[in-house]
């Protein structure tokens, strides 16, 4: 879909997802990485638990469909080569600290004077300007400042983040969105531009209606563990222990909620563990979160007891048959064996250059006219020769760059 477009991807592990999305959609994405390898190559987990330069699963997932050009852009010669690529480049992605490219002589003014059609996507924790622009960030810092952590976790303990970092992935994904808007603007206005992405804002955008609760009602929503606060006093339990793990059941509101609870109480009664009040009440009368407190407490405790003595797989399969809105809380192994994903063949086996086979994720979208290629990530410098030759460098010039560790 994006076949005519060339993307230069200078982003490290913190902006890695942006180029991945564009590459999956068909753009030629040239990942320029240090000759020692991108920092993402050093992030675990690793294939065979072996931290080799080609073995990072993070790198594998988020760099597949990109090309690798190993070039030291901090060296004068490397910088010159990068500048030679700018005229043919449509989108440049970078995730350096604000001002870094400028210090290298590769600032936005320089780049746009070479190519007025260039779109630059800059992905940073907080944005290019503002009081936090130079603040240091990691994923948990983003979780805290964005408002995510405050809403997440048990009420008697510290706020928590998601154990698998989300901050950078959200920033990268927002970068792809910005690139697409800028590309459509370029079609109409014949000029490129700078797109300034803040990972912080992207994570703040995941807070559901929490900011609106403050703005409209001056209510500060609070974290409440496996419960979900509904209204002023009530809390709906959403995650439950089962025999061998956890399941998720969220009692919906309205007619859907009526049908869901009717099916669930029939099931519990058939197995001798129902509660007369749950069977005799029409839950369809209550909107989401509007169940009276006493009834809600009975519901929570009845479900707790019923789920606790049954297995995740029994509960999930029976729920599908009975159209009860119960779902397993999947761990990585459950995700792989989840029947819907298995049936759709989502996880795919791909072969690395050293003949090792690994599993990766299938396409994130299907198209009637296009298929996202599913393959392994490029090896370090796999496409360096091809790109240097395209720039008109001779064999001996290329060799000299390699000997001087400017390219690999």
């Amino acid at each position: 879909m994006l076949k005519p477009y060339r993307v230069i991807d200078l982003a490290d592990d913190r902006g890695i997802f942006c180029g991945k999305i564009l590459a999956d959609l068909g753009a030629e994405v040239i990942k320029i990485e240090p000759t020692t390898g991108d920092p993402a190559r050093r992030l675990g987990p690793f294939i065979n638990n072996d931290p080799g330069i080609e073995n990072s699963l993070y790198w594998q997932l988020y760099s597949a469909n990109k090309k690798s050009f190993a070039l030291d852009i901090h060296s004068p010669m490397g910088k010159e080569i990068l500048l030679k690529l700018i005229p043919s480049c449509d989108i440049l992605i970078e995730s350096f600290a604000p001002g870094t490219l400028g210090k290298l002589g590769l600032g936005w003014d320089t780049l746009k004077s070479i190519n007025s059609q260039l779109i630059q996507v800059s992905i940073t924790p907080f944005g290019q300007t503002g009081p936090y622009k130079n603040h240091l960030a990691t994923d948990i810092i983003g979780s805290a400042l964005s408002g995510f952590a405050h809403l997440t976790g048990d009420s008697d303990r510290a706020p928590v983040r998601v154990s698998i970092p989300q901050f950078w992935l959200l920033g990268g994904a927002t970068g792809a969105t910005g690139a697409m808007i800028a590309l459509q603007s370029r079609v109409r206005n014949k000029v490129g531009q700078l797109v300034d992405v803040s990972c912080l804002e992207s994570l703040t955008r995941t807070l559901s209606h929490a900011p609106q609760f403050w703005d409209m009602n001056e209510v500060i929503l609070k974290r409440s563990g496996p419960f979900r606060p509904v209204g002023e006093k009530n809390a709906l339990r959403v995650n439950f222990e089962c025999q061998d793990g956890y399941v998720n059941y969220i009692q919906p509101g309205g007619a859907t909620g009526g049908r869901a609870m009717a099916a669930l109480s029939t099931w519990m009664e058939e197995e001798g563990e129902g509660h007369p009040l749950l069977s005799s009440t029409d839950f369809g009368e209550y909107g989401f979160g509007q169940i009276p407190t006493d009834l809600l407490n009975i519901m929570n405790s009845t479900l707790e007891l019923f789920f606790k003595t049954r297995s995740k797989i029994y509960l999930s399969e029976e729920a599908i048959k009975r159209r009860v809105l119960l779902f397993p809380v999947n761990n990585p192994s459950d995700i792989y064996t989840y029947p819907q994903l298995l049936a759709r063949g989502f996880f795919r086996e791909v072969t690395m250059q050293n003949s090792q086979k690994i599993f990766t994720l299938g396409p994130w979208i299907q198209s009637s006219d296009y298929a996202i290629p599913v393959k392994t990530a490029p090896s370090l410098g796999e496409h360096s020769d091809q790109i240097l030759e395209e720039l008109g460098l001779s064999r001996s010039e290329i060799q000299s760059l390699i000997d001087n560790r400017i390219a690999k």
């Binding site: 240091l136 206005n189 609106q212 209510v219 959403v238 995650n239 998720n248 198209s367």
Partner: protein, 403 residues
């Protein structure tokens, strides 16, 4: 400077969050987006809290308004064949893009399948999203956003190892997928611009969400390793956590990525001798003694407000960030600087806050406009954009076609 999507026409059947958040980028950046709804079965989020002034009403939900700014409100009673004919006409004669995220089978039942539309509008880009994807044993399984966090693994990876997992708040994956969905629709539009050929895009929310949690599954498949939630621990950093500060439910996150940052932290908390303490001299040692380490850090943070902790740490090169609650977000200097919250005037709700797009662009300004009332633009869409006479409109109106 023209808006990026000036002239683009989007017929938007999306509802709840994932779809409307996706199509909001089109309206914010200049497209004409018709949001098709039914007054008989309003989008469930129209009943979603919070309501302006705590007063419920289909036009009063701040949750709904946040994802529908700048769209035109069209109400169609799709159980009436004349409403379905109007929808088909808009789809085949008006729309460049059609979007929907109903349970698979719904849009087809209304005669609006891609194949039928494509026959008359071959350049159309149509986008469908569903919870679990079309095809497969569970494709028609009902459900809604929050359960996807359980299926995608986000729930299991959130919380403390010794406790029941907690979910990220709300329909978390609904806020991840729109970036992917929107990018793909734009890519398809660009192809159409160049080749004249449209296409059908079909997205499984579960599969797209897994791109935000893919590596643990790959780790299991490569190494048989089942990763688990770890509270606020991190395999490569220590100290790493959210520490209690002075005040009621006040916290600050601190993360040391290197020995150097740990040494700086030890100094600034007034305990430089810890630098030489063997319990904390390397990452491995600090991880092994993280309980003691966290206590030491917290003995210092508890004496200070979160912003004091953040500012002292940041000035010494140690990553730190205050935990913001919903109110704090509106006072946060960085959000204020980037104008993260934008304020719009709504016919019924008055002034309300919405999230910005999160992007600052050097040449493009967003065109933020308030969310529509239910059916606010029905007359305009039907008469001006579809060209129906006022007489016919009135007749259909009286017969409930626009209910």
């Amino acid at each position: 400077m023209k808006h990026p999507f000036e002239g683009l026409k989007v017929l938007d059947f999306c509802w709840v969050v994932i779809g409307p958040m996706t199509t909001r980028y089109f309206s914010d950046y200049g497209a004409t987006v018709i949001r098709v709804e039914s007054g008989l079965r309003p989008d469930v989020i129209r009943h979603g809290l919070p309501f302006a002034g705590n007063k419920p009403g289909v036009n009063r939900s701040g949750y709904w308004a946040n994802y529908n700014s700048g769209k035109l409100g069209l109400s169609l009673n799709m159980s009436d064949h004349r409403a379905r004919e109007i929808a088909f006409k808009l789809a085949t004669e008006w729309a460049d893009v059609i979007t929907e995220n109903f349970t698979p089978g719904t849009i087809e039942k209304w005669g609006l399948s891609y194949d039928k539309i494509k026959n008359k509008n071959p350049g159309v880009v149509m986008f469908s999203a569903s919870m679990l994807g079309r095809g497969g044993p569970y494709d028609a399984q009902p459900g809604f956003g929050p359960v996807l966090t359980a299926l995608s693994g986000h729930t299991n990876f959130t919380g403390w190892p010794d406790r029941v997992p907690v979910s990220p708040y709300g329909a978390y994956t609904d806020f991840l997928v729109p970036y992917l969905a929107f990018s793909a629709i734009c890519a398809a539009l660009d192809e159409k611009r160049r080749t004249g050929i449209g296409q059908y895009l079909d997205l499984s929310q579960l599969e797209a969400s897994l791109y935000f949690l893919g590596t643990p599954v790959m780790d299991f498949l490569a190494n048989n390793n089942i990763q688990e939630r770890s509270g606020n621990q991190d395999p490569g950093m220590a100290p790493h956590g959210i520490y209690k500060c002075f005040g009621n439910d006040r916290w600050c996150a601190i993360a040391c990525e290197s020995d150097q940052q740990w040494r700086s932290l030890a100094k600034l908390i007034g305990q430089p001798q810890l630098e030489k303490d063997v319990r904390f001299s390397s990452l491995a040692a600090r991880k092994a003694n993280s309980g003691e380490l966290d206590k030491i850090v917290e003995q210092w943070t508890i004496l200070h407000c979160p912003d004091e902790v953040m500012n002292i740490c940041q000035s010494e090169g140690v990553p730190a960030g205050s935990v913001r609650d919903s109110k704090d977000l509106f006072d946060d200097p960085q959000h204020i600087h980037r104008k993260h919250f934008i304020y719009m005037e709504h016919a019924e709700m008055g002034t309300y806050a919405s999230d910005s797009s999160g992007l600052i662009m050097s040449e493009t300004q967003p065109n933020y406009r308030p969310a529509p009332l239910l059916g606010e633009h029905t007359h305009k869409v039907i008469t001006e954009m579809l060209g129906m006479s006022n007489e016919e409109f009135s007749l259909l109106l009286s017969e409930g076609v626009f209910d």
